[in-house]
Structures are given as structure tokens and as C-alpha cells.
């Protein structure tokens, strides 16, 4: 079946069997490999993308359900010149990632979280990250990153950055 939607601001059409999940359409048909598959069963959150402005687990959505939708993947979060979104910058600044595999889903969830629950407390952020698993960071610096990135999003001021190696 042919499914048309908008991905990262550009129209896209996918010709895929109806039982294709959105994540496979994104990875295998559109070759946007930043969205990852960690479990296939909507438990780890590595496949999180935005659909019509809300975070969804793309391993649990059939491609047909996305017809006409506005999809944003991790590739569409930074500015066109490559400047990172405040949440991406905060993850880097706070060392909120190690192996990087859960990171795209974590960032997409974090942006959604801070958009819809701005200035959440640490414990609220921990609860709201329930849908995303990370095996490397112990979540310590992810929580700090979400706080910092959320503050930057709410205030419109960029994340203060430290020197990079």
C-alpha cells in the first residue's frame, strides 16, 4: 500500500505492505536510521518519534496509521544548519548519553515531556521517562539533561556549553 505523510517537514511516500510498522518505514524505506529498534514491543522507547506533535513508539504503529501525519524523527530536530536543539545540546552538556543507542528516542521523549509538562520536578521527570530504557547512564545525567534542556526550551535561552574534546 502507498502511504503519504510528512517527515521532518518534507513530503514522503512509502510503498510498503500494510503490516509494516512505522519504524521500519522510517528506517528501511526512508533510510532515516537515527530511529532505533531496541525491543519491537513498545517497552524500551528507542524508536520514539513525534507524530502530529506527540511522542509515539514507532515500533507499535502501523504505517497506515501515519497516513497524512506530520512525523518528526531525530534527524529533523536540529536546525537546518546542524545547530542542535536545546535538548540535544543539554544531553551533550550533561553527558546524558553513552553508547547513544537509546539516545534518539530519549531525546524525542524528553522534548515531548518538556513541551507538555514544562518545568517538571526531578521526580516528575523520572516518572515521565518511564517509557524509555537506558542501560548505560543510570538515568542520572539524563534527568539532569532533561531539566537543563527543558529550562532552555521554556526560557528560550540557549544551553550554556562547555568545551568539547
Amino acid at each position: 500500500m502507498q502511504v503519504a505523510f510528512t517527515v521532518n517537514g518534507r513530503p514522503a511516500t512509502v510503498d510498503a505492505p500494510p503490516n509494516t510498522f512505522l519504524v521500519h518505514a522510517i528506517r528501511e524505506h526512508l533510510h532515516l536510521t537515527g530511529t532505533h529498534v531496541g525491543c519491537d514491543t513498545a517497552q524500551c522507547g528507542a524508536c520514539t518519534v513525534h507524530m502530529n506533535g506527540r511522542a509515539v513508539k514507532s515500533c507499535n504503529i502501523l504505517v497506515g496509521q501515519a497516513a497524512g501525519a506530520q512525523i518528526t524523527t531525530i534527524e529533523g530536530v536540529a536546525q537546518p544548519d546542524g545547530t542542535m536543539h536545546p535538548m540535544q545540546a543539554a544531553f551533550k552538556e550533561c553527558h546524558g548519553l553513552q553508547c547513544g543507542f537509546c539516545t534518539p528516542g530519549m531525546v524525542m521523549s524528553a522534548i515531548d515531556l518538556c513541551t507538555h509538562h514544562p518545568r517538571s520536578s526531578e521526580s516528575e521527570i523520572r516518572e515521565l521517562l518511564d517509557g524509555n530504557l537506558c542501560r548505560c547512564t543510570g538515568y542520572q545525567n539524563i534527568v539532569k539533561a532533561v531539566q537543563m534542556g527543558g529550562e532552555a526550551m521554556a526560557s528560550g535561552t540557549p544551553v550554556k556549553t562547555t568545551a568539547t574534546a
Partner: protein, 816 residues
Amino acid sequence: MGASDFSNLPHIGEALRRKEDYRFLTGAGNYTDDITLANQSHAVFVRSPHAHAVIKSVDTAEALKMPGVVGIFSGKDIEGKMGGLPCGWLINNPDGTPMKEPMHPILAINKVRYVGDHVAMVVAETVEQAKNAAEAVVVDYDVLPAVVSVADAAKKASGVTLHDEAPDNQCYKWTLGDKAAVDAVFATAAHVTKLDLVNNRLIPNPIEPRVAIGSYSRGTDDYTLYVSNQNPHVERLLMTAFVLGLPEHKVRVIAPDVGGGFGSKIFLYAEDVCLTWAAKQLNRNIKWTAERSECFLSDAHGRDHVSHAEMALDKDGKFLAMRVHTDANLGAYLSTFSTAVPTILYATLLAGQYTTPQIYVEVDAWFTNTAPVDAYRGAGRPEATYLLERLVSRCAWKMNLGQDEIRKRNFITTFPYQTPVALQYDTGDFHACMDKARVLADVDGYAQRKSASEAAGKLRGMGYSSYIEACGIAPSNIAGALGARAGLFECGEIRVHPTGSVTVFTGSHSHGQGHETTFAQVVAARLGIPVDNVDVVHGDTGRVPFGMGTYGSRSISVGGAAIMKALDKIETKAKKIAAHLMEASDADIEFANGEFTVKGTDKKIPFGQVALTAYVPHNYPLDKLEPGLNETAFYDPTNFTFPGGTYICEVEVDKQTGEVRVDRFTAVDDFGTIINPMIVEGQVHGGLVQGIGQALLENCVYDNETGQLLTGSFMDYAMPRAADFPQFKLDTVCTPCTHNPLGTKGCGEAGAIGSPPAVINAVLDALAPLGVKDFDMPASASRVWEAMQKGSGSAARDSQPQEPSLSASTQGRPVP
């Protein structure tokens, strides 16, 4: 350059943000599953649904006719054509006979031995087609009874034999120490404390599943294996030399960005070999991506020990002797380093931070109808630390001493220190870690917090753990004498480019550890050039000269030391070039901050000019010196490194539900020199959560009768989530390692090693008023609640006989 000079260089100790982050944060990482090759097909494995069965037949006739099928292979296709997966560590029995080492075929031959065992590989044009065809493969099984827990294996209760080579299912017995001397001490000791415990089985679960692409070029007869793996050179060595009999120069292994390993991606797996071999048979590139359920079933698991331990003490609480018996579950086959984990990497750590003069350890290792068990973050050292630190706290409680006091009375204070279990600690300051941890944990305020908890209807407990680990494995010759079948050095190459930038090639592999940043800091610091001018290449046998890979917290101490040695060579040669340019003698050249100077003069030239001269050698001593500035070094350590520290955990237990909440966790570690404190903290965070996860949440459970994996998904296996933890309090103490040029000790596993006993000691401390004296991990709400109901009933543990007992085992049994 010595370690103290090194630690004073610019960038050393600086929390620079990571080079690798931009690509990971923008979706530009390059993980194995992101790679698509031309002419690529897809593999799906037919796996055994039975824990133990005879394969009567595998019928692929119908499956081969299915749409898109390219080929199907089963045991009969590989039998006699290749070897089995090798085990990298030989353990001998006390009588000198070798361990039992049955064949580990890459596709099951005649028999399956665990649920998830590989029976056939189906290759088709798409994953969907391969899955459909896999369902059409008809396997006729004759189901056999299964043996699952080490308790059953040890008791031979089932009368079941997995491998003909090991009729009683025992792989080996192994001992360390002087039994007679230990027994003699116990006979006269003022106090003896005993403990039975289970170190629960874990499933590593990196978030990136295992993935591999086998690729073959008929034009050149070359193979390339892309694989999510922690040590590509070892993967190639084992696969070519032991399984496929291929020359190494015809096989390239690439481990690109890898989404976490934690040990589970050290090993050579059947899938990797199968894909590589079949790529030539089918003349196709073949990709396989594990589903999460396959990770649960077939990634090597961790831990799974059942132990009995005893400590003899004098009247003042000084440890006199310890004896330990451990039954270790190796699973159905020997995974790559499985045999070393419950022996060399375990028993040698049982002295811990203490002066215990005599230790005797006995290990029985068993085959069972479960997935292979191998190294998982810490590998043997968490098992040793959990046993020792539980035992030490129990000694404290029995003797009415504080958990800190009993530790301080027994700490080693002089170095180097030779333990009775083979290791020689080079340095450490255990009192400093303890003192710092107590301050950071606000132990003085504990009584007040406990009262507040009580007022709120909660039980509060505090637990200590003072761990030591042996990292930076290891001197190759000593490891070889202990049974290692591989070297344990590391290789580094420094390629200085004509314009002065540098590419570093390292045999270490980064799968989250941030080597691209840390190693660049090391090189930039030594050469006095901007960190931006240094890039690090790893994970490709086609680009890196050689490597032993990343595990055992060895990367900076062994891989980094190899880079330091290569830098020494670079500096030596560059000084000769500088001497020529400045018309001085080699001996008068000094190098600092990126400049070569002539002693006692104001003559100087920058590093970049020397680099350019090396490649444009117009004014150059060509009669004495080769052009170019590119050096390779191999570094073989002279000893292990010994990170250590003290962890203090405070928990609150809900009296109504048994729910345990970690309220505070304090970790003070001694990692020696720290190059990037931000990265080190991150490593500790991750380790702590895996360790606390083991203590509170995670538990791999097989059905004890059928051998079915009951915790086979993220719904059944409790992975730690963000809300399960508070922010941790971390600090460090620094006694630099004395025998490597950086003074580093390694930090990747500490958290997972030190934390489980701190948590369980805290839980036991909290539950003490209810008479609960013993508890096996994980302290999930239902298990804690159950223990609270039984209360003093379990206090009978202390009256158990001295002989090793397996009665404590809950391993392999469903949680009631």
C-alpha cells in the same frame, strides 16, 4: 613519561564534552543494523523450543519452496565442515586433568540443549520471508528431561546428562588456597560466621540487540563481518583459527558504533560464524538482527552462583581465615570466557580489602539446560564482592560491631600487599575511601533519618560495601599460566599527519565508554596539540593493527598505555628530527607544550614543523632516520590494576508492601589518575544502576522443570527505570596505579561490583527488627514482603552445618 608527570599535563582531569555525542544526538550514528549492503539478504534462526531434546529430523523441503528463500542450513550442513565455538580459558581440576570441553556447534547437531539453541538458519530476500519460511521448517524432537539449577546439577537429582563428555554434568572442580591450613584456623577460632547465598542470574540487555552482517566477495575471496561486538580482532581470531579454518588476512571484522555491551558482546556467537560462512555458500551478503526475545534467550547471561561461605575471626573481630564453596552454572555450552569467570576472576578477589591471612575456595562448575553464562559487567568480581561484603556485614552484626568498624579493623594498610589468593595489590587507601564515604553519606545524620522513617511507618537501613576489583587484565604470561588461551596486551598506533594532526588507532573498543574523547585527551596532552586535532579509530581489523578489545575495565590502563608507548616512540623520533633542524644534539632536545627546545638556549620549533619535516624531508638526516612519523606499540601490563572504594546505601522499606526504595547512595572510588571526570562519573552511574538493578529488580528465572525462560521479555524481566533511583553522591580518592604510565586503574565495572552488597546489607539492616537475618537478591517487593512475614523463621541459618550446603538455592525456580 611517568604517571605523575602525565597527570599534570593540560587536558588531564578536564571534563571535556564528548566528540562522539554530536553524531549520536542527531541520528547520525552508524550501528550495524544501520548498514545496508548491496545484494543483501536476511537471516532468521530457527531456535529450539525445548530445553533438552534429541533432534530426530529437520525437514526443510517445504520451507525451501517458500517465496524469497535463498538458502536454509541446519546441523547436518555444517557437521564435519568446521569446528565448534572455542572456549578461551582452560581450567584444570585439582588432579591436573582438564575441564570437560564438549563441542559447541554453531547449529545444533543431533541434540538441543537450551531453549533458544540454534537449530537452523533460514536466509531469504526479506526478514518477513525468512520468518515465514522459518515457521515452515519442521523439526521433530524427542524431548528429554532438563536440568536447570546448579542445585539440581550438583545433586544429580535428575539423572540427566547434557553432554556425553561430562556424564555427571560437571565441567570442572577448581580449588585455590591451603585447605588444611584454613581448616586448622577454623578449629580454634573464637568466632565463626557462616552464610549461604545465591548470586542471581542476570540478562545483560544492552539496548542495541546483537546484529551481524556476513559479507563475502567472490572476486577477492575476502570475507567481511559487520558485528555488534566489543573486540573485533579476537572475534576474527577465534572464528578463523578455531571454527572456520580461514586465514586471518582474508577476514575483516568491523564493529562500528555499538549500542552497549556490558560483556555480552565480547564473545564469539554462533550467529556470527554462521552468517560469515553462509555468505560464501550463497554468494550473498546476509544480515541478521536479533529481536529482543532472542537477546533474552541467546545472549550469554551473567552470574548464577550458589555459595556457602564461612569466616573465622578472633575475639576482636580480626579475620583469621575464610573458606568458600561455590557452585557455578555455566549453562549448556562453554561461552568464550565462561570458565574463567567463577575461578580466576572470582576467587582471586575474595581477600577484598582485608588482611585475612588464609583463604580456601572450592568451585564446582556445572552444565545445565540454560543459555550459556559468561562475563557480565564485573565478571566474577561482583560475585566475590557480594559474597565477601555480605559475610563481613554479617560478622559485624554477630559481633555487635559497626559495619564500618569491622571493615576498618581489617583493612590492608601497607602496599604492595600479597593476598593469599594470588594477587598482589600495588596501591590503595581503603581508610581514606571509607572516611570520605561516611562524610559524604552523612552517616552522622542517619539516626535522625531513621527516626523520621519510623514516624512515617517505614523501616530504614544502611548498608556498607568496601570492594576491590582486579582490572586491566592482565600480564599475558601470568594469564597464560592460569589457563588463558589468548594474549592480554593491547595495541596502539599513532599516525601523525604532515600538517600535525593525528589519527590514533586503538585495539580497545568503545561502545559507550567515550574513548574517542578520553584517548584524544591523552594524545593531545602528550603532544601539546588541540584535542580537535586528534581523532580515534577503533573497531575495525582492516584499519587497526591488532587489538584485544574492551572488557574488564581495561581500555585506558592497557589500551591507553599502548598509546602512551607509541607516543614515547613518536617523541623519540620527533626529537631527532628537531635536533637536526636546530643543529643540536638529540640529548639536548626537550619537548613540552607542543614545542621542541634546545636545553639552555632560546631555540624552539613547534610540533607541527617537525611533523611536516618528517613527510617533506628536504632538510632531514635521511642517512640515519626514516621519513614519516607513524609509530605502533604493543603494551603488556606487568600486573592487574586495583580500583577499590566504599559504597554506602540507605534504603527505606515499606512495612505494608515490602517495597524497597533506595533513598541515598554514596560511592567513593579510587580509580587512580582520572583523565575525564565527567566520563568516569557516567561510568560509575551506569555500573551502580546495573548493580542496584541486580539487588532490587533483575532476576533471570527459568522454569525448573521444563527449562523454559520465564523472564523472556521486558514485561517479565525488571529493567531499572529512571524512577527507581535517587541522584547518587559520588567522590573519588586517588592513589595512582604504580605500574602503568598513566596511573589509571579503570572505572567501567566498579559500580556493578560494589553496589549489590551495599543494597542488600541495607535491606537486612532495615529488616533486622523483624528478625530477618538473610535475604537473596533481588529485593523485590513480593520477596521482601514474604521475608517480612516469615520474620525470625529464617534466623535458623546460623545453625546450618559447616559443610557446603545447597539448601539456600532458589536458583532456577519461579518466584513464588
